[in-house]
C-alpha cells in the first residue's frame, strides 16, 4: 500500500480517482472528454483492464495513445476496435441497451439528479445560453448506470434545475419509473467533497465524504437541505500510484487535472 496520508492533489484529481473506482471490469462506458476520459483510462490501467470505451462520435473500443482535446480526436480512431456513424451509436449501442455506464455533467444538478446543460434563466430569453444536450439526454435515459462528476458549489446544486436537459429521477423515483425508460438513472454524483447517491425516492443524499471533508462543507455548498446517509462512509484515500499514473502518463500536461 502507498503511503497516502501526506499526498497533495487537486480537486480534479480527487474526483477523477473516485470516478474511476466506480467503474467495473468489463463495463462498456459512453465516454466524454475531460475527467470522464481520464477516469476511464485510469480504471483501465488499474482494476478494469477490460473496460470498453465508446465515444458519441462513433468510436468503439478506443485506445488513445495521447490525451484527446476533443471527443472526435483522430487518436481515438487509430487503433480502435470499430468506428460507426452517429445514428448507429445512438441506436445500436445506447438505445439498444449496450451501454453500461454514462458520464454526465452540467451547469446545474438538482435534488433529484436532473441535469441542466441548456440555459440559465428563461429558455426563450436565456440569461446564459449553455451548450445544450449533445448526447446527454439519451445517455441519462438509457445507460444502465450514470455517474456525474462536478465541483461542489451551491450554484451548481439548486433545488430545481432551470431546464431539464437530462432526466434524473424527475420529482421522485416513481415518476421516472413510470416513463418506462430503460436506464437506471444517476447512481453517484462525485464532487470534490464526497459522493451523493439517490435514496429510495431518488433524492440525492450525502453518502460519503472524502478524507478531510465535512458534512458542513457539503451543506453550505448545496442548494437544498441535503440529507445525510445514516451510515456516512469515508472514501478510500487517493493512492500515490493513481496520482503517478494520472500525472505522468494520462495527463502529463495537466490539461484537465490542473485547477482547484
Amino acid at each position: 500500500m502507498d503511503q497516502s496520508s501526506s499526498l497533495q492533489y487537486s480537486a480534479s484529481e480527487l474526483m477523477c480517482v473516485n470516478a474511476a473506482r466506480l467503474l467495473r471490469d468489463g463495463d462498456v462506458v459512453f465516454v466524454g472528454v475531460g475527467l470522464p476520459n481520464l477516469a476511464c483510462n485510469l480504471a483501465r490501467r488499474t482494476h478494469a483492464p477490460n473496460l470498453q470505451m465508446i465515444y458519441e462520435a462513433g468510436v468503439i473500443g478506443a485506445r488513445p495513445s495521447r490525451l484527446p482535446l476533443s471527443i472526435g480526436d483522430p487518436t481515438l480512431v487509430s487503433g480502435a476496435a470499430s468506428v460507426c456513424g452517429m445514428y448507429d451509436i445512438f441506436t445500436l449501442y445506447l438505445q439498444r441497451g449496450n451501454v453500461d455506464v454514462g458520464f454526465l455533467g452540467g451547469a446545474q444538478i438538482d435534488r433529484f439528479g436532473n441535469i441542466n446543460a441548456t440555459v440559465i434563466g428563461d429558455y426563450a430569453k436565456p440569461k446564459v445560453r449553455l451548450p445544450g444536450s449533445g448526447g446527454s439526454q439519451e445517455m441519462a435515459g438509457w445507460a444502465n448506470r450514470c455517474y456525474i462528476i462536478t465541483p461542489h458549489q451551491k450554484r451548481r446544486f439548486p433545488e430545481k434545475v432551470d431546464f431539464r436537459t437530462s432526466a434524473g429521477f424527475l420529482n421522485g423515483r416513481t415518476e421516472r419509473d413510470a416513463t418506462g425508460v430503460r436506464g437506471g438513472g444517476p447512481l453517484v454524483v462525485v464532487t470534490n467533497l464526497g459522493l451523493l447517491e439517490p435514496d429510495a425516492n431518488g433524492e440525492l443524499i450525502l453518502t460519503a465524504l472524502h478524507p478531510g471533508c465535512t458534512v458542513e462543507q457539503v451543506k453550505e455548498n448545496t442548494g437544498w437541505e441535503i440529507k445525510v446517509a445514516q451510515t456516512l462512509r469515508t472514501t478510500n484515500p487517493i493512492l500515490e500510484s493513481e496520482l503517478i499514473l494520472l500525472r505522468e502518463e494520462l495527463d502529463p500536461d495537466g490539461i484537465h487535472l490542473k485547477g482547484s
Binding site: L69, M86, P126, V128, R129, P131, G132, Q137, E138
Partner: protein
Amino acid sequence: MSKLCTLKEAIEKYVHDGDTVYCAGFTHLIPFSAGHEIIRQGRRDLTLARATPDLIYDQMVAAGCAKKLIFSYIGNPGVGSLRIVRSELEAGRLEWEEYSHFGMISRLQAGAAGLPFIPMNQTAATDLERINPNIRRVKDPYTGREVITVPPLTPDVGIIHVQRADKNGNAHIWGIIGEQKEVAFSSKSVIITAEEIVDEEIIRSDPNRTLIPELIVKAVCHVPHCAHPSYTQGYYDRDNVFYLNWDKISEDPAAVKNWLDEWVYGVKDTEEYWQKLGSETHARLAVKPKFAAPVNYGDY
C-alpha cells in the same frame, strides 16, 4: 459524368441566400474552406444546420451569413463556449431550433430514408419536447406506449469533405463518419470537397468504403486541407492550438473582424490560406502514415 469544378463555382451555383445548409462532419472532416467561401461570396439569411456548430458556424455567424441555427450542441469542442453563436442567441439576434444529438441525427436519417418521421424511445426528459413543436409523440401500435418523433431534415445543400473521390462523386471516407452519409442522402444538392481526386479504379477497388455514391452528388471539388482547423484522418492532424486560440479571438468583435479580414476575405482560396499558415504549422499538423491491413476482394 465528371462533376469537377472549383469550390468557388460550386458555392456560386448551389448555395443561395436563404438556403438551409449542412456542412457535415462530427469534429472530423469539417469543410471549413466551404464555410469561408460562403462568407467570401456574402451569402445571407442562411439556416445553418449542424449537430455541433463548431468554429465553422461561429465564423459564418460572425460574418453575417446566418438567420437561423439548427443544432444539438453549441460548444468549442474540448475548449468551452462557442462565444459568437452564444452571444447572438443570448441577444436574440439569431433564430434557433434545438435537439439532442440523437434527435438531430434522427432528423437526418428520416430525410435520408425518405421517411416522414423517425421514432425514438422516451428519455424521461421532456423539456426539449416542451419548447420544440417539431418534437412530437406517436403511439407504438404494438404496445400502446408512446414514442418520441422528429420530422425529416432535408437541407437545400449538404457539403461533405472526404479523403478521396472520383470525378463523378463516388467518395471514400474513413475515420469518424458522424453524419456524412445521412447528410448526403437527405440534402437536395450535395457538394463534395476532397483531399484527393483519384481514378475511379481506386474507388471501385473498395466499394464498401464508398459512403457516398455519384448518383446523389452535384459537384466535386478538389480542395486539399479543406478541413483545417478540423482534420482529415490520415492526412493532417486537428489544429487544437487554433481551437484554443479561437477562444481568445472570439472574445473580441474587433479581433474577429481582423481575423476574418486576414484569413477569409484576405485570401482567395484554400491553397493561399494553407500556404499562409506557414511551414511550422504544416509541420505541427503532419501525421506519420499508418496503413489499414490489406483487403482482398478477389478478381471475380
